[in-house]
Structure formats: C-alpha cells, structure tokens
C-alpha cells in the first residue's frame, strides 16, 4: 500500500513543481522586458548585477537572451537580471561602504562582476580591517571567471618593430630604460617620435592600471609571485616604480580615454607622438585595430581600421589576467532566493554557446570547453599562444598597499582648477535647495583630498567682467603652488564663492591653457580642470575654431609641451559638444555632469587623471 502511494505522491509533487515552473516561465516571458530593462515580472526574483564597463555590451546581450528564456526558470525560482555599469574600483568602494544611496549609485547588486578577482580580494581585505565579514566567497566557493583577457602593453606597430618585438622579448624593465633615456626614441633611431610616453590609468579605478602597477612591482623585484609588503618597502623597488611612472603622459579613470585619443591622433597622422605605449587589456587592442577604439559601436557607426595598428606586447616577466569573476555577494541585502536566481544566470553565462559569444566580443572564454580563436589572432595584433607566464596575484593586504603606494609614487601633477561662477550657477540643483554652485563647491573641496602633497594646484574663477582690471573675465584666487602648503587656502576660497555674471568660456579656456603652457614643467602632468555650466556668452571672443587650433598646435609634434584640458559639463545647459572638442584638441577627455548631483563622482574621476 505504502509503496503504491509513494510514487503517486512524488508524481503529484513533480506535477506541482512543473506547473509552478511553467507559471514562473510564463510570468518571466510575459514581461517583454529585455536586456535587464523594465519591471520584474510577477513571480520572478530580481537579480541586480553590477558589471565593469569593458564587458557591459556582452553582459547586456547575455541578459537580453536570458530574461524570459527557459534557462531563467527552475523549480525553485524565476530569475530576472538587471545590469548596471560600474567601474571595478568604484563598485568596490561602494560595497565597502555598504552600497549607500541607491538613488545615485543604482540598486544594491546581488551579483558583482568586476574586471578582475583582485577587486574581490581588496574588498574582503577592507571589510576585514573594518571588522566586517567578507562579501566575496573564497576557497572552494571562489567565484568562477566569466571570461579572461590578459594585460598587455599596447604599442604602435612601428614602435614595436623598432624594439625588435616579437623576436626580442620586452618587459617592464625595458620600458623603464626607454622612459629614462634622455634621447627617447632617438636612441632607437627615431628622434622624430620624441620622448617615450607611457599611458596608464589610475589603479584606484581601473583594473588594467591595478594589474600594470602590480606587474611593475614584480618587475622591480625580479619575482613572479608572492609579492610582499617587505618587497614594496625596498628603496630600489620604490625607485623603479617612480621611474616607470615618470614617463606617464597622464592617468585616467578608464583606458578608453587613451584609445579614443590615440585613434583621433591616428586620423591626423600624429599617433606616434601622442603615446608610445599604454597598458590595456588584450581585448582593447583587438577593438582598436578593428576601428572601434572604445569597444562600443553606436547605431550606424562604421568601424574604420587605424592607419597605424597597435601590437599587443606580452611582458616577458609575465602578466596578469583580468578574469571577470561572477561574484554572488554574501552581502546583508542578498536573500537566499536572489542567490538561487543568480546561480541560474551564472550557469547560463558559462554554457559553451554563450562562451562562444564571449569570444566574439574579444575576450578569451572562461569555460575551457570553448577554444580560443578568431578574433584573438595575430592578424588583429594579438597572440593566442601568449602569455607564457602569469604573475601571482598578491595577498589582499599587499594589494591594498600597492594602491596606497602608487598614490605616493605616481607622477606629480600641476593643475589649474578653473571654476565657472556665472549667474546660472546660482540655480537650484537638488531637492535640498542647494544651488549648482553649492554642489560644485563641496565636490571641488572634496577632490582636493585626492591630490598628493607635492602636487601643484591653483584656483581660478571666471565670469564676465568679474574683475575691474584686465584680464576682466577671470581672477586667480590661488596661484599654482604646492597643495601641501595651500590645500586649506584653496578650500577656504572655494567656500566663499558666489555666482555673478555671464560665461566667457573661450577666453578663460585659452588663457588658462596658455598660463600652464608658459610655465610648463616636464616632470609633471600639466593640466587644466575646467568646470562650466553654460555656453560661451562672450561677444568679444566667439572664435571656437581659433581656440581649438591654438590648443591643438601646442599639443602636437615631438617637442610639444602637452597641457591637457579636462572640461566638465555641469548642469543641463552646459555645452558638452563644445567641451568635448576642447578636450579632444588637447588629447584629454570631457566629463559629463549634466545631472548636477553626480558632480562629486565626476570630479573624483577627473582628478584620477593626475
């Protein structure tokens, strides 16, 4: 009797499960939400995912295929994935703070996929030192990689040829020698290329920069694993790191800034004098050589391969892989249901069919069942048989120390902060009644903390006829000088700012640029940080083309004295298009803070260039 009934009970249970599964599948399918957009279908569990930017197109594509598919349902749950783009360093910092302010920062993620598992180790270490439990599983439960891409040194092919690559292997030590050779490329028979210029991003934000900085320290020690805090403290290691950093053109929050600038210079025939080498991920070399430097094709955009392609150099000491871990967070806000739902997406992403899509985006598959193939080919400037050696990921405490040390060893900066105090800056900007100027002032004061003591920073404000004596359109409140000596003075001056008249944008851009160029210091990153909320409103100087020609002329050629202008378009009336052209003319980048409440994050990103 009992035997007869047990199968019936199991059958009934199976039917219930099947019906529930079908209902959940129907619920998921009925939403019409694709790509993680739209409301979560009834009966489904939302899986919020924070993804690093370089793979956002891929993850969005996979999410679109997953949501509503059979793979999104199981007997237990129905998953609906929503993706948001967050740079690895930014997400790490937000998680370390418990992901505050979801309105500004987006929903708290269930899944985090930074570019490298190094960020997970850093997060756990920071939580540990704060007396909190880890959020990233370790040991046997360590997250699996979605995809892989090695860090490489991207170099224009003629330059790589001049160094004898690939017949001659190249490492970070060779880069240091070149960077410190007063003859620059002249020592390799190419004086027309000027000094050796290295492009590198900021390891507080960028994975390629974090990996490059780790590789730099390994090269300094001669080790390939187990980098220690004792190693980092050695004087010769310090000297090596400072030597490499001294050749940096400027830093930045993302490598795409360099690649876009390189591509624009390529069109003008000046690619070889903008930068000699940039530490990027292998995928970026493929994208660049295909004519898609930022890896994102806008609708209707036709990729056009560059005249001078890049070559991926795999450093002879070894390199690190960016492994894009799929991290289901052990965070207080992540429910067991959300974890179950997240696992469904993980299984989907790791399926061989979807791993083949990973390859089509220029990454190496994380699933070993899928072979590395096109587009990872020598024809695209990369080598599927490289790298031959991987550097060991240092212990979490060492990783944190690497980032701290870089802040001291990085190339020093010389920056003029130029703030718009035109009348429109007095308009309300948020629900608390703060004006645009109020928010900009606080963000500018906060950003001062990112400069190191021997950086030089000055403060200029501008508005029409702000001064009774010439030049009438701007006032230098604090001359450029050591921020260690005048950090508080600058902050005090910023606090006292009030809105005044119109926006003489072109005049202040030109004169600020000229000031920094005339006092150029080759040992530093020379830059202007220009925050404005409007268009040029100066009838006395409305010549944009003249301004752009002046800026461009000063930045081109092997003997140029490059001063980068980083404009910030602040508020909805800012002229972002014009500001982008100003940035492009100086091989810098324009930043979008058209939503005034984002100004603090945007200013932090701008200062990451220095």
């Amino acid at each position: 009797m009992r035997r007869a009934r047990f199968p019936a009970q199991r059958a009934a249970r199976a039917l219930v499960v099947a019906v529930a599964t079908a209902m959940m599948a129907a619920a998921c399918t009925s939403s019409g939400g694709v790509g993680g957009a739209g409301a979560v279908p009834k009966g489904c569990t939302a899986v919020d995912m924070a993804s690093s930017p370089e793979k956002i197109d891929l993850i969005t594509d996979l999410t679109r295929r997953f949501n509503g598919s059979a793979a999104a349902t199981s007997a237990k749950t129905c998953a609906f994935v929503r993706v948001q783009k967050k740079s690895s360093g930014t997400a790490e910092q937000l998680l370390a703070q418990g992901w505050p302010d979801e309105t500004t920062n987006g929903p708290r993620p269930t899944v985090w996929s930074p570019a490298s598992s190094a960020w997970g180790a850093i997060l756990n270490e920071q939580l540990r030192t704060a007396g909190q439990p880890p959020m990233v599983p370790t040991g046997a439960a360590a997250p699996k990689p979605i995809q892989l891409t090695p860090l490489v040194i991207a170099m224009p092919k003629p330059m790589a040829d001049a160094l004898g690559y690939p017949q001659t292997s190249i490492g970070y030590g060779d880069i240091l020698k070149l960077a410190q050779d007063p003859a620059g490329w002249g020592g390799k028979g190419h004086p027309e290329w000027g000094p050796f210029r290295l492009g590198k991003t900021n390891p507080n934000f960028s994975t390629s920069a974090l990996s490059a900085t780790i590789a730099e320290y390994y090269a300094a020690t001669g080790k390939t694993r187990d980098l220690s805090n004792e190693d980092l403290a050695r004087p010769e290691v310090d000297a090596f790191a400072r030597g490499v950093e001294s050749s940096v053109v400027h830093y930045g929050d993302i490598t795409l800034t360099f690649l876009n600038n390189w591509y624009r210079n390529d069109a003008r025939g000046t690619a070889l004098t903008y930068a000699s080498a940039v530490a990027v991920e292998e995928k970026s070399v493929i994208d660049y050589n295909k004519g898609n430097p930022d890896g994102i094709l806008d609708p209707g955009e036709q990729p056009r391969p560059p005249k001078v392609p890049l070559v991926a150099i795999y450093p002879k000491e070894g390199t690190l892989f960016s492994d894009s871990p799929f991290i289901v967070l052990d965070a207080p806000w992540v429910t067991p249901q959300a974890k179950d739902a997240a696992r469904l997406f993980e299984q989907f992403v790791l399926q061989p069919d979807n791993q083949a899509r990973v390859l089509s985006f220029g990454f190496r598959p994380g699933n070993s069942q899928v072979a590395v193939g096109d587009p990872i080919t020598k024809a695209n400037g990369v080598d599927p048989d490289q790298p031959q050696n991987v550097l060991g990921l240092p212990d979490p405490a060492v990783l944190v120390k690497v980032i701290d040390l870089w802040g001291q060893q990085r190339k020093s900066a010389r920056v003029l902060m130029v703030l718009d105090v035109s009348g429109s800056m007095g308009e309300p900007a948020d629900k608390e009644g703060n004006t645009k100027l109020d928010l900009a002032k606080q963000a500018a004061i906060d950003s001062l903390g990112q400069f190191k003591a021997d950086d030089q920073v000055g403060l200029r404000i501008f508005s029409t006829d702000i001064s009774a004596t010439p030049p009438t359109d701007y006032v230098d409140l604090v001359p450029v000088g050591s921020i260690g000596d005048q950090r508080e003075l600058i902050a005090t001056k910023i606090r006292a700012l009030t809105p005044t008249q119109g926006t003489p944008l072109y005049t202040v851009a030109r004169d600020s640029y000229n000031l920094m160029r005339n006092s150029y210091d080759a040992a530093r990153i020379n830059a202007v940080m220009l925050l404005t909320d409007g268009k040029n409103e100066d009838p006395r100087n409305n010549n944009l083309d003249g301004l752009l020609n002046d800026l461009r002329a000063g930045n081109e050629g092997q003997s140029s004295r490059p001063v980068r202008v980083f404009p910030i378009a602040y508020g909805k009336d800012a002229d972002l298009g014009t500001l982008r052209r100003i940035a492009d003319a100086t091989n810098a980048a324009a930043y979008d803070a058209t939503n005034p409440t984002t100004i603090a994050a945007v200013l932090a990103a701008v200062v990451s260039n220095f």
Partner: protein
C-alpha cells in the same frame, strides 16, 4: 442498549482515529526526516544528483579541510548525518579529536564507494622536456626537483619563455584531493607510502618540499580548470584525480595538448561515507541511499571508478587500480598539512 452501542461505537471511532492519526504522524515524520549530507567539493555533482532524487537529503558542499577543521573540535551538534568525502579525511578528524581529548565521531566501518587514481596533467611539450630531465619517467620527486630549480625551464631543458616551472594542486589546507596529492608526492620522494612524521625532518626532504610548495601558484578555483582555460601561462602541470582530469580533458578545447600521467606507485582517492556514531536511524538510511545504484551511477558519471558501472567519457580502462590507496597514514597527512602551512605561510 442502543445508547450503550452508540457509546461503544463512539469510543471505537475515537480510538480508531487516534491510531490512524498516530500512523499518519509517524509516516509524516519519517518522510519529513531531514538527512544532512555534507559533501566534499570534488563530490558536488553526484551529491546534487542524490539531493534531487531524494528530497529528504539536504546537501552542503564544503571543502574537506574546512569540514575537518570544524569537526575536529566540535563538542555539540556536528550538523550532519553523513559526510561524503575521500579517505582518510574522517580518520584525520578522529585523530585530531583524540588529540583534543574528544571522543571520535565516526563509525569505523566505512566501505569504499568509488575510487580514482591520482594523476598529473601536464602539457605535452612540457612533459617531453621533463621526460628528458627525469630520465624518461615523470614522477613527483622529479617534478618537485624541477619546480624548485632556480633557473626554471631553461635549466632543465625547457624553453626560456616558459619561465619558472609551475606545478599546481589544490590547497592541502582545505582541498580534499590537494592533501592526497601532497601525500602521494611525499611518498614518491621517500619511495614508499609508509612515511613517518620523523621522516619529515629529513633535511634533503625539507629542501625538496619547500622548493616544490613555494613554487605552486595560487589559484582561486580548480588548478586544472585554470590550466585548461588560460593555457600554460598559469600551470605547466597539475596534480589531481583521474575523476576530475579525465572528463575535463575529454571536453576541453585544449585537452589533446595535455598528457595524463599516472605516477608510480599509483595512489588512489577513495570515496567513503562517514556516519557519526550514536545517531539512531539516519546512518542506515543514508548508507542505503548513498550505497544505492543511483548514487553509484552518479559517481561513475562524475568520473569515479565504480565497480559494475560504465566509465565516464575520458576515464580510461587502464591502468588497473592497486589493492589499497597507497597513501600515507592519516597522522602523516595531518602532519603534512601543518608542514605545508609552515613552508608556504598560507
């Protein structure tokens, strides 16, 4: 009379319903009984099959070393009715408990459910270079020598760009198989599995052991999976079970570039179900499930060798398995864990 009959009938109905209720409750309790099965990480797949087939089984997947460390000092509820792992982890736990003046946890009767030889997966070009260096046969002793060589591959006949010799295995502190591989390697150095803890103080051995273990790169996940996904950049050779390597190599795009070596003398990882003494019915029930045909099939599908079951793709018919595991004693393996911590600082 009618009233009496009515009362009797009522009493009978109440008694009957109580009896029925009791039987239903009993059956319900039997069916609701949760059997907590902790599985070592390398046995996750077959355990998930068991849990899917039998809803009484609640599976927790955990690295064997992590489970062992918890059980070694646990004085109250140990949180499991059964532990599916590789031998001799349960004996390591009980040995540790005795050292802590605690009662042993597990019943001594522990049949072997499945077996798998310990293997070395090595890139073919590296295997050729090692073969020259090792005098034809690549084993752990020679591999350890190579890994500890300061000059790396060029010093032992390999190519300069291969860099240092990178040998991998699971972390012996936590990974169940990792410790067994280390035990096999140590047995290989001494030329016998019956190594004693006093042997570990041998100066030549310590140099070899330190050279090998300090050269093992850190890997977040399975070293073999990392090796197959990243190519020779991460690992030149990895020690693991045939159960992991055979099916993975058969599926992997780079699988044909890798040789599977069976170091001599062959040692095996043996799957056992350890059940705590003093539990009432649960052990017998679990033994029935885990020893049943579905479980045996699941183990075989996962790459383990199970008598009477077809082998998984990639698992060869030979070499034959030895009569015993050929691993050092539980006490020696436990001592090796401690020695590994000292040497690597991890």
């Amino acid at each position: 009379m009618r009233r009496v009959l009515a009362v009797v009938a009522a009493i009978a109905m109440v008694a009957g319903s109580l009896a029925l209720r009791g039987r239903l409750d009993k059956r319900s309790a039997d069916q609701a009984q949760v059997l907590r099965l902790t599985c070592a990480t390398e046995l996750e797949t077959p355990c998930m099959v068991l849990a899917k087939d039998d809803t009484r089984i609640k599976v927790t997947v955990e690295a064997a070393g992590t489970t062992a460390d918890r059980l070694a000092t646990s004085e109250s509820d140990i949180g499991l009715e059964g532990w599916l792992t590789t031998a001799p982890w349960p004996d390591i736990v009980d040995q540790e408990r005795r050292a802590h003046s605690l009662e042993p946890l597990f019943a001594s009767s522990r049949p072997t459910l499945a077996r798998s030889p310990l293997v070395i997966a090595v890139w073919k070009d590296r295997a050729a270079a090692l073969g020259g260096h090792c005098g034809g046969t690549v084993g752990w002793r020679c591999l350890g020598d190579a890994a500890g060589t300061a000059g790396g591959w060029p010093a032992i006949g390999g190519r300069a760009e291969w860099g240092p010799v990178k040998v991998g295995h699971g972390l012996p502190a936590t990974d169940g198989v990792g410790l067994l591989v280390l035990g096999q390697a140590v047995g290989s150095w001494f030329g016998r599995p019956d190594v004693s803890t006093i042997d570990l103080d041998d100066g030549a051995f310590q140099g070899w052991f330190g050279g090998l273990e300090r050269s093992v790169p850190t890997s977040a996940g399975s070293p073999l999976e990392t090796m197959l996904a990243t190519g020779p950049a991460a690992f030149d050779a990895v020690g693991t079970t045939e159960a992991e390597a055979g099916p993975q190599l058969a599926r992997a795009a780079r699988g044909k570039q890798v040789d599977l070596l069976y170091p001599s003398p062959m040692a095996t990882a043996d799957v056992v179900l350890a059940v705590p003494v003093g539990k009432a019915k649960a052990p017998a029930t679990l033994r029935g499930v885990v020893g049943g045909s579905a479980a045996r099939r699941a183990l075989a599908v996962a790459g383990w060798r199970v008598d009477g079951q077809a082998k998984a793709q990639g698992v060869p018919d030979s070499p034959p398995l030895p009569a015993t595991s050929n691993l050092p004693t539980p006490g020696l393996l436990d001592a090796l864990r401690a020695r590994w911590h000292e040497v690597t600082g991890k």
